[in-house]
């Protein structure tokens, strides 16, 4: 889940459509139960509460879906863009595209961590929406289950897209999803702190270690990153692992261990807090905002909050440091992809594809990129974007060499991602030898 800011409760209550709410409520309760049968009672309660809230909140819009199911031009969209910055531009873009095409739509916004449970519920009750957004690493699992329509049949093409961004929507050579914009991570730094210490933004690991050491002191750590025991921790580790020549298909290599070693050195030097093992990317950014970290590994989705919360903080961004000068900085692609689920209604699926195609058009990519500080998927559009937004140029550069996390492993990715963050935590917390930790990790995924 490292790819987008997901504030816990920014969701606005959906418009009250008032129609057939009671049968919907029963449906929602039934699907909620069907999707979560493995839990014991207490946990069921704990988990069902947010799920029930989400489905209740979704009632207004979901109700609309069924009443209009006979109308092929009325489409249902599900996504998790809840923050105003995301929500407004997505809504506007869909509204404009739908108007041009003579279509109507209703949008259902789910809290970020509820999207996959919700998708599972909708899958088992055959109520998938006509257009569905997914966090990109979740795509292969869903595509492999047969729930998504291949997009080529609707005339989609990824021509002109940055190749790695086109890959985000692929499984086994078939295109199932498209990403209008993406994000990645880079190195933010506190300009006055570096100037005061008389150092340039680091470009190699050695320089980073040195800079972090110099910048540490007086309640401030040189660098902050996220090594938490979730997919976010893995997301942040990928650039170090990849740039060092490591590969997720084989974790038992010196290259992978070397990257883990670099992280642990930062902790051993005292240049990074041991709390990194409990920090999500948002927490790491908070340390930077509070002046408790001079540098932070983070993504552009936090820029809006950074400028809003700390307008006086002078910061800048560089691409992530590489193991040795001359090596390529390879970052992981984050961001969401859009899909057309198989609902069985061919005409609706065609209309949904039409709407989606218009939604991801280059001019819309530019618009969404600007509003959300994310990078357009189309290569030429991204270049134009970089010239219009020099402050985001670093991210455009980082994206051009970035990789999809699921490109090699597809549906196997989540297991490997867990093995990676677990091994990293063993290195950082227990001082386990990196080679040993990642040998073990390789065994658990083999």
């Amino acid at each position: 889940m490292p790819t987008a800011p997901r504030p816990p409760s920014a969701s606005r209550p959906p418009a009250d459509r008032g129609d057939d709410r009671v049968p919907r409520l029963i449906d929602a309760a039934r699907t909620a139960r069907a999707a979560q049968p493995v839990l014991s009672r207490r946990r069921l309660g704990a988990l069902l509460a947010p799920a029930a809230l989400a489905s209740t909140a979704a009632l207004g819009l979901a109700g609309c879906g069924s009443s209009s199911s006979s109308d092929p031009t009325s489409l249902r969209i599900v996504d998790y863009y809840n923050t105003p910055a995301d929500d407004v531009v997505i809504e506007e873009t869909f509204t404009k595209s739908a108007k041009d095409l003579g279509l109507t739509f209703s949008r259902e916004k789910v809290p970020g961590d509820q999207l996959i449970p919700k998708v599972l519920q909708m899958g088992s009750s055959k109520t998938l929406p006509d257009i569905l957004m997914l966090d990109n690493p979740d795509l292969p699992q869903l595509a492999a289950s047969g729930a998504l329509a291949p997009l080529e049949q609707y005339g989609f093409s990824t021509e002109g897209f940055t190749p790695s961004i086109a890959d985000l929507g692929m499984l086994d050579g078939t295109l199932y999803a498209i990403a209008p914009t993406v994000n990645t991570i880079a190195l933010f730094f506190n300009v006055p702190m570096l100037e005061k210490a008389g150092i340039d933004p680091p470009t190699t690991w050695e320089e980073t270690r040195e800079a972090a050491r110099v910048l540490t002191g007086d309640g401030t750590y040189g660098i902050a990153f996220s090594a938490i025991a979730t997919y976010e921790g893995t997301f942040q580790f990928m650039p170090f692992m990849w740039s060092n020549g490591g590969d997720e298909k084989d974790l038992a290599t010196p290259e992978v261990a070397g990257a883990a070693e670099f992280w642990s050195q930062l902790l051993q030097d005292g240049s990074a807090s041991r709390s990194v093992v409990n920090w999500g990317q948002g927490d790491a950014m908070d340390q930077f905002k509070a002046g408790k970290a001079a540098m932070v590994v983070n993504g552009p989705w936090n820029i809006a909050g950074l400028t809003a919360d700390t307008p006086d903080l002078e910061w800048d961004v560089v691409t992530l440091p590489v193991p040795r000068s001359g090596a390529e900085s390879i970052a992981p692609l984050g961001g969401e992809v859009w899909t057309v689920p198989v609902t069985g209604d061919e005409e609706k699926q065609r209309n949904a594809a039409k709407l989606l195609k218009s939604f991801v058009a280059p001019e819309n990519q530019l618009r969404m990129g600007t509003a959300r500080s994310t990078i357009p998927g189309h290569a030429a559009t991204a270049e134009q974007f970089a010239s219009e937004h020099p402050d985001l140029a670093t991210f455009v550069e980082q994206v051009s060499t970035a990789r999809a996390r699921t490109g090699e492993l597809g549906p196997e990715w989540p297991r490997t991602a867990k093995a990676i963050y677990t091994a990293n935590q063993e290195v950082l917390v227990d001082d386990t030898d990196p080679a040993k930790a990642f040998d073990e990790a390789a065994r658990t995924v083999s």
């Binding site: 014991s40 009672r41 899958g123 938490i228 409990n278 658990t444």
Partner: protein
């Protein structure tokens, strides 16, 4: 048939007194004949049995639907390859004991099992001892004891996720209140990584869970203590039983039924605590706080292997069940002997 007889007997009962919607004088005249007959009929043979079943039917149905079905479903699932795609194409082939074999042979399983044991035993001991101490303390009458007692209930009122967030902040290594406090009184010189070190994370999580469990223990034990008559202590005093002796020979034996309830419920609640651990550490760092509950959650909802997740939660249910049986037996024997 059953429904008419119950309905009219209810009528009969109600018509004895005044009833809303019906003017009182008429109720008086309607008394007798229509009410009495069905009332007598009810006592006859098989029909009465049917009525009795009809009364428990809703409860049985409810139990089957909301407790029986999930448990059966959970058992079935644990023998199936139930994964992400099952939700979309419905296919969940039976794989025998594969899920159990895979889940139990994973090295994390043993760690989770050991952690579950430590977490449960540690939490229960802590909650119970502190809970008992506090409730004994509150037996003494002193000013503001009512206010203090209600303050003690606070952890109970807070949503679990809020408690977890607050404690994460308290236990934070660099700026956390706890470390700052311990440093200021000179107890430690280096900040302790409560949640960031695998040596202390489990201890920290147990500590928070003890804090959460104290109100439950105090509430039950305190009410149990209230039920012990004061005269017994006075009589004991005459026989020379004061202080520890009074506690040992009067309080403890009389409190035993409450104690067994508190401990039994405590174990059942604690063994499956999920949200607190997820909120504090997410099972980390490096699986240091992984329990069977969090591992089962992780398998099901992060790795989408619902089959293995179900297998693991069945193991958990089995452990809880075994524990309950053993415990109830031991208790029954103790009650007989005592």
């Amino acid at each position: 048939m059953t429904s008419t007889s119950t309905a009219s007997s209810a009528d009969g009962l109600a018509s004895v007194g005044p009833r809303d919607g019906r003017p009182a004088p008429r109720a008086g005249t309607a008394d007798g004949a229509p009410a009495a007959r069905p009332g007598r009929r009810r006592r006859r043979g098989g029909e009465g049995l049917l009525v009795r079943y009809a009364f428990i039917a809703p409860a049985v149905l409810y139990l089957l639907l909301f407790y029986g079905y999930p448990i059966v479903k959970n058992v079935v699932m644990s023998f199936q390859a139930y994964d992400f795609s099952t939700f979309f194409n419905g296919s969940a082939p039976f794989v025998g004991l594969d899920n159990y074999a895979t889940a139990l042979s994973n090295p994390i399983f043993l760690k989770a099992l050991a952690n579950t044991g430590l977490f449960t035993v540690g939490s229960i001991i802590g909650q119970f001892v502190i809970g008992l101490g506090l409730s004994l303390y509150f037996r003494k009458h002193f000013p503001l004891s009512g206010v203090l007692r209600s303050l003690l209930l606070l952890p109970w009122l807070l949503p679990m996720i809020v408690s977890a967030a607050v404690w994460r902040w308290i236990l934070e290594q660099d700026s956390g209140v706890l470390n700052r406090f311990l440093e200021s009184i000179g107890l430690i010189s280096e900040p302790i990584g409560w949640l960031t070190s695998s040596d202390t994370a489990l201890v920290a999580v147990i500590m928070v869970n003890i804090w959460l469990g104290i109100p439950f223990n105090v509430a039950l034990l305190y009410s149990g203590l209230q039920a012990i008559p004061e005269e017994l202590y006075e009589a004991g005093q005459l026989d020379g039983a004061t202080g520890w002796k009074a506690f040992r020979h009067i309080t403890l034996p009389l409190l035993r039924p409450v104690v067994s309830v508190v401990l039994l419920l405590g174990v059942i609640y604690t063994i499956k605590v999920l949200d607190l651990i997820i909120g504090l550490t997410g099972g980390g760092p490096a699986n240091a706080t992984q329990t069977l509950a969090t591992r089962s959650y992780e398998l099901s909802f992060l790795e989408f292997d619902f089959g293995q997740g179900a297998a693991l939660s069945n193991v958990l249910i089995l452990i809880a069940l075994l524990f309950s049986v053993v415990y109830l037996r031991a208790n029954a024997r103790a009650a007989k002997n005592g």
